[in-house]
């Protein structure tokens, strides 16, 4: 089995550090995409995704395509909304702007409901917006990776179902699936889209979705055909259903190696109760946030209840910029990410704490990173007030 060579700990909010066994699965020998062994592996992956998303409703459908998180937006815009229809996009950072841009590409009108940086739109504002107009879908970024702001899904979904029962609830879970609790059935979600390279702990290259039976009905009732070919559910739903039933079929060639790696990472995740996994991420996040506060630093996410558990966006001290502090961290074997939110990109850094860096007791990534941040800031001239 492969032992990874020494390398800096990748603690950006995705891609994350991967387990040896997951990386080993990436080098699986070549298999036919329509051969029974691979089809069985794909089937098990889909079954495991149902568990990860906590859905037991047979009408819901997991989808895994070669691509990345972004392709999930295309799938939503091309399959669930028809040109001319409207989407309400809740904005907590960079990724909502992009999702809105994706909708516009498909001729869908996207209205953004924005909160100040570090905040999230409030339920009463959302209620008001939903009452003003008929939206086919509402989208929410569960964790916006540019700000570390966590959205509240349960109350939001309840509100949408109450105020605008036909509106589909679409969650961008790229930076949350695998580290934040998501109860697909209980919370009445319609789509949760994600990618492989964050808290799921599998290399980048996959677009992963869970779609509700209700959303599939909406898709089937379309008056126009889907406006994507590679991302068309008309093309993919039968294939996913066949895979899950262990029947070979073909629309476009999946990546057997990535599917094997996903199989390994999902098996690892599901080998423990999910609740424990989420609790681990919360505990590590608390520890990090405490250390940051003790350092005299502030987070972008303004309140404990809107702070993500898999990443932290940290304002740098006045006068210190990412290009100063990141190389100093790198020398200590730690990679953080710079800022991404356009208005304040030079003022903050992002620390990802998802997956094996959090859950594997043999790894000391997080402690190393906290120490490195402390020392790195001092090196570039920071003195705590």
């Amino acid at each position: 089995m492969s032992k990874q060579p020494p390398h800096p700990a990748l603690l950006i909010p995705g891609p994350i550090e991967f387990d040896d066994a997951v990386l080993d699965a990436m080098s699986h020998y070549s298999e036919s995409h329509v051969g029974q062994p691979f089809v069985n592996t794909f089937s098990e992956v889909l079954a495991m995704l149902r568990k990860l998303f906590q859905t037991t409703d047979p009408a819901s459908q997991p989808i895994v395509l070669s691509g990345s998180g972004t392709l999930g937006w295309d799938q939503v815009a091309a399959n669930l909304v028809e040109p001319g229809e409207e989407a309400l996009v809740l904005h907590t950072g960079y990724f909502a702007d992009s999702f809105a841009d994706c909708f516009e590409t498909y001729g869908v009108k996207a209205t953004q409901l924005k909160a100040p940086i570090g905040e999230r739109p409030q339920l009463d504002e959302i209620e008001e917006a939903l009452k003003e107009k008929k939206y086919k879908v509402l989208t929410v970024t569960h964790v916006d990776t540019s700000t570390g702001v966590l959205s509240e899904l349960k109350a939001l979904s309840e509100l949408v179902h109450k105020v605008s029962p036909e509106t589909l609830v679409v969650v961008d879970g790229v930076c949350s699936v695998g580290c934040e609790e998501i109860r697909f059935d209980d919370w009445g979600l319609d789509v949760v889209l994600t990618a492989s390279q964050k808290a799921i702990g599998c290399p980048a290259g996959l677009s992963i979705l869970m779609v509700s039976g209700r959303a599939i009905e909406v898709f089937k009732a379309r008056k126009t055909r889907p406006t994507s070919y590679f991302g068309s559910w008309k093309n993919w739903l039968p294939i996913m259903q066949n895979y899950e039933a262990k029947k070979p079929s073909y629309f476009a060639t999946p990546s057997p190696q990535l599917i094997h790696a996903l199989h390994t990472s999902l098996s690892q995740i599901l080998s423990r109760p999910l609740e424990q996994r989420f609790a681990d991420h919360r505990a590590t996040s608390q520890k990090i946030k405490k250390a940051i506060t003790e350092l005299g630093l502030k987070q972008l996410a303004s309140k404990p209840e809107n702070q993500a558990n898999g990443m932290t966006a940290i304002y740098l001290p006045e006068g210190i910029t990412p290009p100063q502090v990141l190389p100093s961290l790198m020398k200590k074997g730690v990679i953080f990410a710079g800022g991404l939110h356009k208005e304040i990109a030079t003022k903050y850094v992002r620390f990802g704490h998802m997956g094996v860096s959090v859950t594997d007791p043999r790894r000391s990534d997080i402690d190393t990173a906290i120490e490195a941040l402390k020392e790195g800031l001092i090196e570039v001239g920071y003195k705590k007030a």
Copy 2:
């Protein structure tokens, strides 16, 4: 370094068998998609693709996205053609029907020019079609993987440039790039699209394109915005240009592991003269085709000049079907593919001979397969007439 465990030789027309070093690269430790080491790797991949496609024109642009061959069709339909415009699709099998369907998805009218099974449309018919109507693009499947029919690109491209100089020449090279000669500049091609898992010899998961400067001008002159988001060149061209210039940038997360594997396979391919690689594929193909003829079997591709060099589609003897012969081959350690062309799917099998199975002298895949086919057919009752 990983040694692959014993497994049947995958001799379908993709995915193919992969080299150990390529599979090792798949398990590369995690890197930031915007970190300098990975950006340098991506840059080198793009430079190597220019060599593989034999283009030195700085205006042409290689593109590598997470996805698969099919996503190349979406990129063409969404970026080069505007809704209401027309495409002429040369048909030599299954994959032209799908490409045409992709065009229709994007509101582009696709006219197919079909040849009988095993044949390809003739130049005079193509000339006539081009004179009848203004086509924005003409597409040709270099090798149709459902029939093993090879198209002739050079004369075709010359004809298009002569008869309809504004029509872009788009080549589906999914089953040809890496095993059939392609001279992008010399032949005046505008797009060649392919995937990683065939003759390029890298696991599935990538959509790979070479686009001419002329095609990029046509793209830039669009009146409407591209009709895909994930596949939009507006989003990706700056990123690819940055990668090639070794500048970090982000639109959607690429797969560092797949890019490393592609880097390894391209380095291997380019370590020898390309001409020699194509000659190897031709020689092996001749050997296989001779053995098949000696067995008393016929190919779908009717004439030597339209027979692919990386695969062979073989009619089974009367009364013998793929479900009889494929398991018998499998017992002998060889995987072939069944038929794919709807009208005759139960009458033939497909034998892929691309990449390391052809070029690595330490491997005996091809001889094993020829023997297995001979014995397997006898086992299921075949007696040569």
